[in-house]
């Protein structure tokens, strides 16, 4: 019986994971064929990742927000507002890069605290509070930016959004530093996995099943290499992607291995139970919003670097892209369930759609319709795969 249970769990997990992968594969193969390979060129894939990076970063912490049964409709506007503040400071006021960063952090914390105060402590519905913030921030953007495009920001600032890792010695189109980083990352992964597994076996928590474990590891490594090679064979890792990977890893860890992460899920699953378990739910929700706005700040800096200037409409509806990505990636809109990596992949999937359809030079109306249908498909597959579980 115990055995059966474990098996069940495993099967479910894999089917569930597959659903997202299947979608990704379908989309990639289809676009690959339709664009005659252009879509799958390292160059385009690198572009694609950069096109999706801003929203993917927002999706990381949006996952936490949604999992905890909250919402953030202000993320996109906050991105625009923070970007405008940064641009005004840099361009109009001539501040240096470091002070500008500090100002960005300060603004993030301020917005985060504002949300935390009303949502966590005053218990106002997150949906409405963040909608109100969206309006207020739109006003602030117009107030300080006066509707004009403000730019360009300095190179030292723009780097995060547009530059690539420096390279020492490019051998036959291979970006050495990126390769080294990839290898180091893989080695770390293998080491951590093996040692934790060994420990588990030593404690008698799992039966030794190295075959399966190794199969999993090999596929993870293969995937990592495929994705990394996109960059290694093109121009190396962009800083933005490195930030995305780092934050995804951090938050994946936080979600799965820290008390904070667990509390987030507990609050989303059953607030009352969480409270009765002695969790200071207010403080956890506060932390969620603080972290979230900081990550939005990071996205803002990347966006600003990428686009080069701040405009009044920057970031409009990014929150929707991020929320969509989260849900496509397996986060339940009703809270309590979700995962960071899925959210990032989901957001990237939606970015691939945009990218592929524009490569095909599809008309406006078909683009909307296809995107809507794919969204339906993604969510349907997710639901079906989840049903299989029970």
């Amino acid at each position: 019986m115990e055995q059966a249970k474990t098996k069940k769990k495993f099967e479910f997990t894999s089917i569930y994971k597959y659903s997202l992968f299947i979608e990704v594969i379908i989309v990639f193969v289809l676009f690959g064929i339709l664009t005659g390979g252009t879509f799958l060129s390292t160059r385009n894939l690198s572009n694609l990742m950069m096109q999706g990076v801003t929203c993917s970063i927002i999706a990381i912490t949006m996952t936490l927000v949604i999992v905890s049964c909250n919402a953030d409709l202000s993320a996109g506007t906050a991105l625009g507002c923070i970007g405008t503040i940064a641009a005004v400071l840099q361009v109009t006021k001539g501040w240096g890069t470091i002070p500008t960063f500090l100002a960005v952090i300060a603004s993030c914390l301020f917005i985060g605290a504002w949300h935390a105060y009303w949502i966590a402590y005053k218990k106002l519905p997150a949906f409405i509070v963040t909608l109100a913030t969206q309006l207020i921030l739109k006003g602030v953007i117009l107030l300080i930016g006066n509707g004009a495009a403000i730019g360009p920001v300095r190179d030292s600032f723009a780097r995060f959004g547009s530059a690539y890792l420096p390279n020492f010695g490019k051998e036959g189109g291979i970006h050495i530093l990126s390769l080294i980083i990839t290898l180091a990352g893989c080695a770390l992964y293998v080491f951590l996995t093996v040692s934790s597994e060994k420990k588990k076996i030593a404690r008698g928590l799992t039966a030794p099943n190295w075959k399966r474990k190794i199969a999993t590891m090999v596929s993870v490594l293969a995937l990592t290499f495929i994705i990394s090679s996109i960059f290694i064979f093109y121009r190396g890792f962009p800083y933005a992607i490195i930030l995305l990977v780092i934050f995804t890893a951090i938050f994946h860890f936080v979600v799965n291995n820290t008390m904070f992460g667990r509390y987030v899920f507990a609050i989303g699953g059953n607030v009352e139970a969480a409270k009765l378990s002695g969790i200071n739910t207010e403080r956890v929700v506060m932390k969620i919003y603080m972290l979230h706005t900081l990550i939005v700040g990071v996205a803002s800096v990347i966006y600003l670097g990428r686009v080069g200037q701040a405009t009044a409409t920057a970031g409009t509806s990014f929150e929707f892209t991020a929320i969509t990505g989260c849900v496509v990636g397996g986060t339940s809109i009703l809270g309590g369930r979700g995962n960071v990596i899925g959210a990032v992949i989901g957001t990237m999937l939606m970015a691939s759609l945009d990218n592929g359809m524009s490569l095909l030079n599809m008309g406006q109306s078909s683009q909307y319709i296809v995107k809507g249908l794919v969204l339906m498909l993604a969510i349907a597959m997710d639901v079906i795969s989840r049903e299989k579980k029970g």
Partner: protein
Amino acid sequence: GCGQEAAAPTDGDSAKDAPKTESTPDAAENDNADAKAGEESQSDSIKVGYSLKTVQEERWQRELDGCEAAAKDLNVELIYQVANGDAQTQVSQIENLITQGVDVIMVTAVDAGALTNILNTAKEDGIKILVYDQQLENTYGDAFVGYDDFTNGTLIAQELKNLDIKGNVVLLHGDKSSGIEKIIDGEKSILDQLDVEIVMEQYCQNWGAEAALGYAQNALAEQNNDIAAFVCMNDGIASGTIQALEEVGMDGKVAVTGMDCELTAVQRIAKGTQTSTLYKDSVALSRAAIETAVKLAKGEAVTTESTINFGVNDMPHVIVNSAVITKDNIDSELIDTGYYTKEEVYAE
């Protein structure tokens, strides 16, 4: 085309001076002193309501500033409402302008087709309607002040002809729904004469730089960097495009056109990364608009050479010229006229 001729009566040298003059054809009739005196007594009571689509782009903020300045000069009371790109809001706001008892409604439409009924209501209330810059569809108006979209389209593309561009061209437009088809027609009318192939044509959401950046990247990837020119419908879109070009080290090597003459665009032209932009003299435009409004309010005839029809009636078309700005004429067109200062444009 016709736009330049329409402005001709004002000044001899239209190509050069159009931007800095008040280009209402009738402006020449009244000498300044007369106009001032006449208006001071009468325009006391003239109330102009201006409903504009957005101020989230630099250009419209400038238009608004220009109108306010002109209104102050002419002693007209100007009240304005901004619709934030929402057609329904604009309808409501025009209603509210009517409630406030304006004599003339000046309108820059969010959506070319959304104002039919409300402007009819205004007309029934005896309010004059001045359509400002953005053309309407199936809608009544008393006068139209603005550029000629088709001409603007041709002007944007003209620069490609001047540069004798050959090969692949990408067209990046603004939002599909905002009545930009005439501009596109204008662009294509010139492109048809060239030896080019349009390899991509996309509409950028919110006229946004980020969307443009993505499309430009995709176009470059798809064509293997073999693109001769990007025809961008405004400077925001151009900025995204240039960002994509910078990424592949091709900035300055590919022609990129723009429109609206934003400061950052002019800086890029000075730097050589953007090829051209369209200088639409907001001062002249807004001044012409206010002057025409005063005429309408007073019941004077607005006489122009050309008329325009938005599907209901012919109305006088007060055309204001736009000028192509390239690296060569920044100084003469923009700095000498005081539109931008040298420091602003050439700041590092």
